[in-house]
Symmetry: D2
Subunit: 355 residues, 4 copies
């Protein structure tokens, strides 16, 4: 319900307009020293208002760690509890919300699921929840870094502007140091798309690409917890995610086996890690990492909240026009860049510690 992972678990709580968000990370290895400055910095990146491109909700978003870490910053092996206070309660903004079901939100589905909902914001469906994930991901990233694993993410599409070949070079020539880069002109065009949507009171979809390097071969499981299935579940848990693909992805459907075999390069030794000449597999074969870079894309829909009047229904099933409320996120994919990174780090760490 509210727990991610098996070996290391992240159990979260918090309504967007309650007193605090928070979580418990259980199973984090003992004896690891946390760099809190870098952690706070990482968490702050997700914060709305951290960029001109996103909605301006102001939260300090500094997690308070309550357990699991010694006074001098070393993990104890015990559960790491943390909270992030919600400072931005405008309950009055939300009174109107109590009586309507917003389109493409979870208002109606919540009522059908629980019979009750916290109409002040999206309850558990709010993107505010992802602050918990970013805290856990920031811890995981530091641990991964200590093992030589690096997780990078980038915005690779906004509406009609897309970097279609974001992984082309990485798939065809993995032996060169892989880089996750979007051409500057595309980057600018994407930003313009976001600003245009913002100005129009509209919203626009987007896509986040992720590249993970340094994962050793042998991580993951062959049947029920395939590494890419765990990544897919984590990514599809992010608000507004509509699709996940790794390696060749949906292009695999159009491809032929004779042209996409990732031939092993002779290593001349039974112990030496093997490399493949190409990496159409995306670093995972049979659910288990093969030591090559792992990469995937996540598609996000446009946020359903618009700065335009929307037709919808009230809780009695009668038609009603909903006027725009005070905030608006023109492109959720912008913020998702940080959430994808965090969840990817959590999943990879969880799998590396259970191997």
């Amino acid at each position: 319900m509210n727990t991610f992972g098996k070996n290391i678990t992240l159990t979260t709580f918090g309504e967007s307009h309650g007193p605090a968000m928070g979580g418990v990370i259980d199973g984090f290895p003992a004896g690891f020293r946390i760099d809190f400055d870098r952690l706070y910095e990482e968490v702050a990146k997700r914060r709305p208002g951290s960029s001109a491109l996103v909605t301006a909700r102001k939260e300090s978003d500094r997690p308070e760690f309550l357990s699991g870490i010694s006074p001098d910053g070393v993990t104890l092996g015990s559960p790491i509890g943390f909270i992030v206070r919600n400072s931005d309660h405008h309950s009055s903004d939300y009174d109107e919300m109590a009586k309507v079901y917003r389109p493409n939100h979870a208002d109606y589905t919540y009522i059908r699921r629980y019979g009750i909902r916290d109409h002040r914001g999206g309850g558990r469906s709010s993107a505010r929840e992802t602050v918990n994930w970013v805290v856990a991901g920031a811890l995981a990233s530091q641990w991964l870094e200590s093992k030589g694993v690096k997780v990078e993410t980038v915005l690779s599409q906004v509406g009609p502007v897309a970097d279609e070949n974001i992984f082309a070079q990485i798939m065809a020539h993995p032996e060169e140091t892989p880089r996750l880069e979007v051409a500057p002109e595309l980057k600018n065009a994407m930003e313009e798309q976001v600003m245009a949507a913002k100005k129009a009171g509209d919203s626009v979809g987007g896509r986040v690409s992720c590249l993970i390097t340094g994962v050793p071969a042998g991580i993951g499981s062959p049947v029920a917890d395939k590494l890419h299935a765990s990544l897919a579940a984590a990514m599809m848990s992010i608000n507004a995610a509509k699709g996940f693909e790794y390696g060749l992805g949906f292009n695999a459907a159009a491809s032929f086996g004779s042209r996409t075999a990732d031939t092993f390069l002779p290593s001349g030794s039974p112990e030496a890690p093997l490399r493949t000449a190409t990496n159409y597999s995306g670093g995972i074969q049979g659910g288990i990492s093969n030591g090559m870079p792992i990469f995937f894309n996540v598609a996000f829909k446009p946020t359903p909240t618009l700065m335009q009047p929307l037709q919808t229904v009230d809780v009695n099933g009668n038609g009603v026009t909903l006027n725009p409320a005070g905030r608006h996120d023109p492109c959720v994919a912008v913020r998702a860049v940080h959430v994808v990174k965090a969840m990817a780090a959590f999943v990879i760490m969880e799998n590396m510690t259970s191997a």
Copy 2:
């Protein structure tokens, strides 16, 4: 590791060339009468050799149920244990395999994960494992049918031949009875692609589309076990799956909020289930079903086994040419049509019984 689901679990076992495959379904509701004839028929559809399009491995694939069902076919609430014998042992075929790592297979990743592998076929990575899933899915499908839920799947792409608009009508006009149909000429063209790949000793990718109708609103969870995240994890567990998308899917990245809001249709009653004018959400909002049809696509890569000599390495890391073995599946997506259906049924049933 080898368990799917939480509320209802499917725990499976079996190597493709061991004595049997099998599984345990725990949590299946008591008092449900199984139609065994239809179940055996459903399982047989997955069987290789059931179609001209797939590899000709001969297995009777008739599950033997060992527990959980009364002599007169009614579920007892206790775990349903079953086995499916493997009749097709050609161990000698596989002796050569012991010494090489096949490209794009899990041979190498297995060794890195476990230090040992069953070289007779793919071990747990074999598509043979999916027979267990199809047994569980066939049981789930019967239960779902009794609740008015229907799961349909279809092959909607083979290599370059794709039905690009498989869900277009369903998204834009859901009020008409949704149908999952591929135009006959596309169907023929897809079959030709498969036959051409077979003849060439090559393999071709494909895509399976799934439509689920009759799921009531309120099924799923808002955070860690979103209904679409559970579907994604199940689908990405299927051998050769490279991508999952639901509702607008990857097209969401290119779309605008003002054009994809699923406006609620006034029902005039607080109790009556709501419908939406369009269904770009794909029947799920905030991780919870909204009562509209659920639909998604799964992309599959071409099978890595080809009827052509392949360059690879042996277990000592030396280059070697692997000659084609006796079998070859020119398009794994053909068989995946049944596996996608089975896993979708299992996931939906699991969520409906935990609500």
Copy 3:
């Protein structure tokens, strides 16, 4: 690791001398109104210093609820996060502790398990952790009460003073309203034992008895999650617990089947709940409740902290004399009366909601 339950989960965190204890209750049903005054009162009972019999650590122990409950006190179906601040940090008291392993404490086992320990108090092994359980149990108790279920606990032994027949009447004549009572003179004698131990700087063991009435038949599972096995696991999780028995308990080993059969009383109807003439089974048959009262005993050892010099070793394995620190709990069973009640309520509620 730090999660209790499956259907409803309680995940806890907190070191006794860190900033706060806390937990997340996931799966609590939506729509239940909490009586916070009674809840705070219930939690306060566990508090050290709440009785002359226990150690005088002062904590306000008022939980702060952070999520899962609407502003007007109704559960939302979302996870209930809470924290309980630790106000009583005397870190300096504990400096000496960093260098020794106290006998019968978890100091040494922690080091062997995690390689690090928080020497300021017992870390996660501190009885302070049970405040989290009492919060969850108090919520569960209110829910159970709304279903007609009542959980009672009593101290039935302190050292040599024991009520040997605490359940005798309940087993032999369950048709009379069962009461959980210790004779006043035994009660006084027990208190004297505690005071005597306190004065002597010694500690004394004890036993807590629990009676649960109103549980309907059909709660629990027949194999891996037998109702009494879940109770046993929960009870043996309480600090200092050394034994669990239900129904006839250890006396069952000395008894004969012909004298302990719980004969059903004819009800004259297939629907009417059945009662049994006696209740040697303790309300559970085959792991599932039969509708009769459930009762069990839990034995607790004397606390290992004494107000006497103790011989032990330091972290270098050298002998050392440990002088008594500032506090001392002469009989942990006194406080365990509240913890047993809380954990019993949590287990019963969890099973009732999963049936």
Copy 4:
């Protein structure tokens, strides 16, 4: 429901009068060579009819392993599926059973739980289920042996005949090699009790004692999965178990801290494992093993099936006299000696592999 363990799981199935019992062991480490002869021998010990003291049901009880083990007997890291056929179907014996609820059996609770039951024997409540556990335990025992861990069990009480001091020496003087021994005269007296009960058509309770040596310090968890709580849950899952105690057990309630502190013996080194002068803790402190012998007792009630007419009710709630059926187990504790050993081995192995 039907799964034991977390890190290594045992998921079982099978009705006592269905075609087969069976299970799946998931998470067993790869690369371990199984001695099948010893395994079959170990499983056979549990078999009814293996001793004059137990009921004479004849089953060959030879497990068939279906997966997870290579042809030459080495574990693959994949799930180990096995079945044990039921050869002893006397369905006609059980026709009468369909209409009555036997006292102290799970007949009535099953109906209340599931609304249906398999009246041919006890369904999942039958002691036949324990054959699955003994298979898993026999595998675990071999693995433990390879790590220097030994699990021993003995019958230490039958009705009024009890070895009251079974652990006294082990607690007071652990430095001497601990032995788990019952005096021959007590052993004989116990056998006489069983035979007398058998002759009288009655049944008698009993107690099984278990000693585990060689477990290193640091195994287990400090809060929710304390090693002794896991042992308690496993033991209380065994049919007819009524109580569990470890270390001082219920005698702890009568004891004083000043007399039961397990003083550490100076080792003179920070690395050398510590020993304690006494072992009243039973080898576990704070839920984690301390390297000393682990020991516990499990109490079993007399089997409810007697060779005497019993008063009970039929499914319509009317009084009825139930005549004795063909079989009778005069003392379930006799067979439980093997089941306790198996479950203890499984729990210890699971904890050792997750540390």
